[in-house]
């Protein structure tokens, strides 16, 4: 197989080493808070009302948007509130959530719709639909609806299963693979059945030996290969993975599907297996709970919508001030507390001992950042232009290609939060482009107005001119008439004067 390393990246050790990677099923939470807004697209609309009893697996909100998936009740119980909560997002914006209080019974709704018999006998369309109504989205953190992604990759030649575990410290995918190796393999077979790819590659990093062994034991399909790769941060990024495994560099602005590759996270594969084969919609996920303040890291299989507080009650947390973050140390976000709930793309919750923040220094252009940038940008130049809000120059230096992996921030000796600058500049650029477009529209409208006024003026002038000519003609005609009348009168007069004496006489 053609392998081609990408530049940069970081070899990072797991900051929270675990001795035993187990997937622990935790009891049902008393209450779940399910967000209606997903990663992208429109907010789902609740189809239940307060006080209504819902069953586990019942659809409680839908939206007709290909970028979204329906939301299911993750426990059985009563809807107690449909109101706004602060989302676990950098913006701290509020969004609509449905709160369900558990009745402790976990009574399931009948989910055997669509493809009920063996999936091999179902058409791809039936399975797409099944994936859609089961609410499957990318479980690696992107949260993009799987049915849309799979449909986009129709006719692809290769399926890549991303089992690299995107960031150091997160072990939920490894735990999932160790717990359900057969589900992974069978799930891949389901996906191969619908996307018609010739082969599937499971990309897994060499620090997950137990998971590798488990997969190898159950993999008996010659279409599926297990590719063990060195543990390096940012290998999990879709395009970099493609470059490493297939030697294909996806051009800027294109997607993996454009080069005939479908990439799916291993968690998504398992969720898809559950949906298609076992008729279980997406109502739970594996979450890594770790951190320097957590005595023993754990991987918990938890119902969606369970609160972080509930999640954290299953680990021992050391005393002191804590820093709460989700979705990783590199690309995740810091949260102001634990008052959030697990969503479909929450892969980890970290609780770290609060460290003194290091002061930021000036950039000395040491260039360490450009040696670790996996997409070969010049972060120090981007920083220079971002700092001076020179968006045009920053974009010229390919700011928009930044994948925000934070490798540069990690190595920066001056502790500059580089990616924060880039995000800000990207937003600024977007705004400027929008404003420019608006100015363009305004200018066009203004010019059209000018044109219209000019035209009106001209038309009026022409009309006036025409009227004038008409008037002149009329006057000329009148004059001629008058002259004719006068001459006639004169003639009459002269005739009279000739006759006159006769009368007088």
């Amino acid at each position: 197989m053609l392998k081609s390393k990408y530049n940069g990246g970081l070899r990072l050790e797991n900051p929270y080493p675990v001795t035993e990677i187990d997937l622990i099923r935790i009891p049902l939470p008393d209450k779940v808070v399910l967000p209606m807004q997903q990663r992208i697209g429109n907010q789902a609309i609740p189809i239940v009302s307060v006080g209504e009893r819902v069953l586990t697996g019942q659809i409680i909100a839908t939206i007709d948007d290909q970028r979204c998936a329906p939301v299911h009740a993750s426990i059985s119980g009563t809807v107690v509130a449909i109101d706004e909560h602060v989302y676990a997002h950098k913006s701290r914006l509020k969004g609509l959530c449905v709160t369900i209080e558990s009745d402790g019974k976990d009574e399931w709704v009948d989910t055997s719709i669509g493809c009920t018999e063996r999936y091999e006998t179902c058409t791809a369309n039936t399975i797409y639909n099944k994936i859609r109504v089961s609410g499957i989205v990318g479980m690696g953190g992107a949260g993009f609806p799987t049915h849309t992604k799979v449909r986009l990759a129709e006719g692809c030649h290769t399926l890549i299963v991303n089992a690299t575990e995107c960031e150091p410290g997160i072990t939920c995918d490894a735990a999932l693979m160790e717990a359900y190796p057969t589900k992974v393999i069978r799930g891949i077979e389901v996906l191969l059945h619908i996307c018609k790819a010739e082969r599937a590659i499971i990309a897994i990093e060499d620090d997950k030996q137990d998971a590798i062994a488990a997969l190898k034991k159950f993999c008996n399909n010659e279409k599926i290969t297990i590719e063990v790769m060195p543990t390096k941060y940012t290998s999990g990024a879709e395009k970099l993975l493609l470059k490493y495994l297939l030697g294909i560099e996806v051009p800027t602005g294109k997607y993996a599907s454009d080069v005939g590759v479908l990439c799916q996270n291993v968690g998504t594969i398992v969720a898809m297996f559950d949906a298609v084969v076992e008729n279980r919609p997406l109502i739970s996920r594996a979450v890594t709970v770790a951190g320097s303040a957590v005595k023993e890291s754990k991987n918990l299989q938890v119902r969606l919508g369970a609160s972080y507080d509930y999640l954290l009650s299953f680990v021992d947390i050391k005393e002191g001030s804590h820093r709460i973050s989700m979705n990783g140390l590199m690309m995740g976000i810091e949260l102001d507390g634990t008052n959030y709930s697990v969503s479909k793309n929450t892969n980890c919750v970290f609780v770290d001992q609060l460290e003194e923040s290091k002061p930021t220094k000036e950039c000395i252009r040491c260039g360490l950042c450009n040696t670790v940038c996996p997409v070969d940008l010049l972060p120090q130049q981007l920083y220079w232009y971002s700092k001076s809000k020179n968006t045009e120059k920053a974009v010229e230096y390919n700011l928009l290609d930044c994948i925000e992996c934070n490798c540069c921030t990690y190595v920066c000796p001056s502790q500059i939060p580089l990616v924060d600058y880039y995000q800000y500049t990207k937003a600024l650029y977007k705004q400027q482009v929008k404003e420019k477009k608006q100015t363009e529209i305004a200018r066009e409208r203004f010019e059209f107005r000018e044109l219209r006024l000019e035209r009106n003026k001209r038309e009026r002038a022409e009309m006036m001119e025409a009227k004038k000519i008409a008037l002149k003609e009329k006057m000329a005609k009148d004059k001629a008439k008058k002259a004719a009348i006068e001459s006639a009168l004169e003639r009459v007069d002269s005739a009279k004067s000739v006759q006159g004496p006769l009368d007088v006489g």
Partner: protein, 314 residues
Amino acid sequence: MSDKLLNTNQIMRQVSYALALGVGAQVYFFGLSVLIQIVLACITGLIVEAIFLRLRGSEIKPAIIDGSVVLTAILLAISIPSIAPWWIIVLGVSFAVVFGKQIFGGLGNNPFNPAMLGYAFLLISYPVQMTQWPADYLSMDRAADVIFGLSNLDGLTGATTLDHVKTQLTMSLSIQELEFNSISQLWINIGFLIGGIYLLLRRIIFWQIPVLLLLGIVVMSTVLFLVDSDQFASPLFHVVNGATMLAAFFIATDPVSASTTPLGRIIYGFLIGVLIVIIRVFGGYPDAVAFAVLLLNITVPLIDFYTQPKVFGR
């Protein structure tokens, strides 16, 4: 996570420590006067930096302790003759800090290497004081007397080897007829070379600039040497004399004023090496490092612009 990464302050400190061997060799050959110059330079640098930070309304403490001004001061102090009068180093460091650094906005914003800017200023303004090196080892109190103007050093000074060669060559002697004792130069250069290798191993500097700078010197001097070995010194002479190693590992590698792209560093280093030889051979001053570095500093934005790496997916 994995290996401990250095922060900016630690980088500055490590570079200063790496100078120790070369400075030690200087002390061995010229006496402790070198240390007097370093102390004078550091004190001046810190005071001037503090005054200017105050004038600019910036916070003083974090900028003072980042080690950058101390590094600039040390680099300038070891570049000038160890017996130069005290006001030379005071003036030079003040110029370097004010016009080389603070006027552009402090650390990270200066287009020129501050120490070399200070050096060029001194060399142009005070050529006599800047070319008188002690001919022999000087004791501490003797050196102090000379530096602070309590006695003069007639008869005890000499020109550097580079200077000597240049003067002699103009008197139409061939290289082979010249006798020069460059053992001190050799050892000082070896000292800086070892310090430089330490920086490379600690991944504080990248290999491109030092290696290509030395290559530039070798290539250019070999070309000249092949043209006329009577007129031009050998490549070896150029490598072990003057400030070659100091320039390769400590001066041209100043990240702020150097090129930052991988290919850019190669071009930057190589051209400095070539220029060093050209200016040494054909220029009017004994050593050429300062001018070569400053000239290339000016071209950095251009080099960086045209050597951008290919971005993934483009």
